[in-house]
């Protein structure tokens, strides 16, 4: 019988010696080229980190390939980043070009540092979840193929963080990303009153609705839906399997912009709705890829150096953002949830564009 509550392996045993020696003593860093970080310690010692892109969904054989690379070049030391990239950690500057060469030979994009587009935080989608409105890995792959050069270069005004979530649960970073891709439903769940009494708990199902669209029907031991109060979030389905909401014809993707997590210059902020709906179009989601590319390009052209997407938009104004990107503004962009009034403009301060 297995030992329990042992917790994860102690990270200290995973640290390369150069880090163990200079732990907490790093003095500054440089980014000599995309994908390479050089950290210099007070002791003068240097650590070279090489960042490689990853699909995040890895086979064990692929992980073993990564291990081989690490064993060959970095004495077996590596880490993953909070955005699921791989980082090879080496002491010996001479090894650097060899590692990079080998990585590129094997098709690993090297980059994601500085004013680049790093890996896309994303979620399970059709691969392993029961509530998705779209897939996770597919749109990410299709998009990264297209904007790959922003990963391997550092030419943007500031770093651009992209995230995808396949449903409104927003596993990951969608609610606070420079650009976010969100799977959405657009039709109400179907109440299956046959199954419901057996598989669902009525009070918790009623409570699961953010907009109070679900009424309990004690007599029939089921629930009824006030359809025009439903905004298709799908949370009831999470709680109650007898309320399926997926609708291949009408499910799709929405695009969000201007979110931010860091405190640099401006406070962290949520992503805001840019495009309410794009069709779900596997395997390569061309409409989504195009829409994101367009936003990136307009941003790259218009933003000042070090301006995050949201900071750029705040400076030029939302009216200008919509006119520059050619995205139509609709009543769907206007909030109507509980804090909506805080987003209404109470001034005459705007630009004519």
């Amino acid at each position: 019988m297995a030992k329990t509550d042992i917790g994860p392996p102690d990270y200290k045993e995973m640290l390369p010696p150069v880090i163990a020696r200079n732990y907490g003593k790093w003095r500054y860093h440089e980014i000599p080229r995309p994908g390479v970080l050089v950290h210099t310690s007070e002791s003068g010692e240097k650590l070279y980190s090489v960042r490689a892109g990853s699909a995040r969904l890895l086979s064990t054989d692929h992980i073993r390939e990564i291990c081989e690379l690490a064993e060959k070049f970095t004495k077996g030391y590596l880490r993953f980043t909070s955005r699921h990239n791989i980082e090879f950690l080496l002491e010996d500057e001479k090894v650097l070009p060899l590692l990079i060469e080998e990585l590129q030979k094997k098709g690993y994009p090297v980059g994601g540092t500085g004013r680049s587009i790093s890996n896309i935080i994303h979620t399970q989608g059709w691969i392993h979840c029961h509530t998705p409105a779209t897939d996770g890995s597919g749109p990410v792959k299709a998009l990264m193929d297209e904007i790959h050069e922003y990963f391997t270069s550092m030419t943007l005004p500031a770093h651009v963080r992209i995230a995808l979530a396949c449903c409104l649960n927003m596993c990951g970073a969608v609610h606070c990303s420079d650009i976010a891709i969100l799977g959405i439903h657009r039709t109400v769940p179907k109440v299956d009153s046959e199954r419901l009494p057996n598989v669902c708990e009525i009070p918790s199902t009623v409570a699961s609705c953010p907009t109070g669209a679900i009424r309990g029907d004690v007599a029939k031991k089921t629930v009824t839906l006030i359809e025009d109060k439903c905004m298709y979030c799908g949370n009831c389905y999470t709680i109650c399997p007898a309320m399926p909401i997926a609708d291949p014809e009408n499910d799709g993707i929405s695009i969000w912009v201007g979110g931010k997590v860091s405190n640099a210059r401006t406070a962290p902020s949520f992503s805001k709705l840019a495009i309410p709906y794009l069709p779900n179009n596997p395997p390569r989601w061309p409409e989504t890829v195009e829409a994101v590319k367009n936003i990136i390009e307009v941003y790259a052209k218009g933003a000042r150096k070090h301006e995050r997407v949201g900071e750029w938009i705040e400076r030029i104004g939302w009216e200008r953002f919509f006119s520059l990107t050619g995205i139509p503004f609709t009543d769907k962009h206007i909030d109507d949830f509980d804090l909506a009034t805080e987003t209404f403009r109470s001034s005459t301060l705007f630009k004519w564009s």
Partner: protein, 396 residues
Amino acid sequence: MAESKTPLLDQLEGGTWPSFVKDMKQAAEKSPMAEDLLNQLELSYKEKIGHWKHGGIVGVKGYGAGVIGRYSDRPDLFPNVQAFHTMRVNHPTGWFYKTDKLRQLCDVWDKHGSRLTNMHGSTGDIILLGTKTENIQACFDDLSEAGFDLGGSGSALRTPSACVGPARCEWACIDSLDVCYNITMSFQDKMHRPMFPYKFKAKISACPNDCVASIARADFSVIGTWKGDIRIDQTEVEAYGASGLDINKEVINLCPTRCMEFDGKKMKIANEDCNHCMHCINLMPKALRQGEERGATILIGGKAPILEGALLSWVIVPFMKLEPPYDELKDLLERILDWWDEHGKSRERLGELIKRVGMRVFLKAVGLPAVPQMVKHPRTNPYVFFWPEDIKKEVK
């Protein structure tokens, strides 16, 4: 050559970015589970709909968390993923690995699972992507043998994560890795045995850049910061200028509090006005260093939209020194968890509970003083509650 069974997914095999389809096919060659997963995914691509049902309760002895149950809704077509549960394995803090450990992990998974993983999940766990119900316990036994343990799931403390911090960053104001590891080890029981109203997440970033997005993605956010003057190395400042950085344009003018000055030679900072945003330091790590008094800001309540709308964590302690064994931090965390546990409704996140009952009630309950740093600005509505002790005996 027979035509492909996955014409749609095949179109995601090429291209410049690493392909998850390649990995799935690689695994499919050796694992029937991976093969059925691949084929079911192809069906989803064809029909534009997922084929997974709700997961029932599956787990390992003594734990209530760590495994996400999942069942195919087309077991007729894909019998090998009829049951296909993921195991969440707690990653080594900071996601550092020595390859021998990684290889052990792969061996265990090849033996018991689909040969597919996520490195890593959004919460930070190693995701072992799918295996049958009967394999779970044995897999866990071998994982434990290899020195791994499961992460959190369900209404439990979720696997805490931390930025790389002092291991590789000059800006670490706290030992994010040690704090994270310490919390993880101290709260094992709360991770493995769900007893909370809902999930609870903790993330630790060692400076305001917040590289683990703790303010957005954790109920309990610890973010390193400093007091005291930013230390300026004027020669390095000049060096940056010489090396092509437009100091006035890129640094001075972008300082949000406009508390910096640069006359072309000397840089000045009115530190009392600095709000510690990191921007200038980010651009000039060689020349500018944070002040010497180090600690962390504690924030709570961050979460995604479901149910009451997304929240970014709110400041509850502007500055707390963090030295091992971090008792002050852990005591506070305990008090918060106890209060939430007692008052939270089912599936009500900490932030939602505070939204419902009010910050003042929370502060009184956990014994924290109100300070201006908790708010962007004081209330604008006059609906002010007074405590009984504020009121003179009534003489109406």
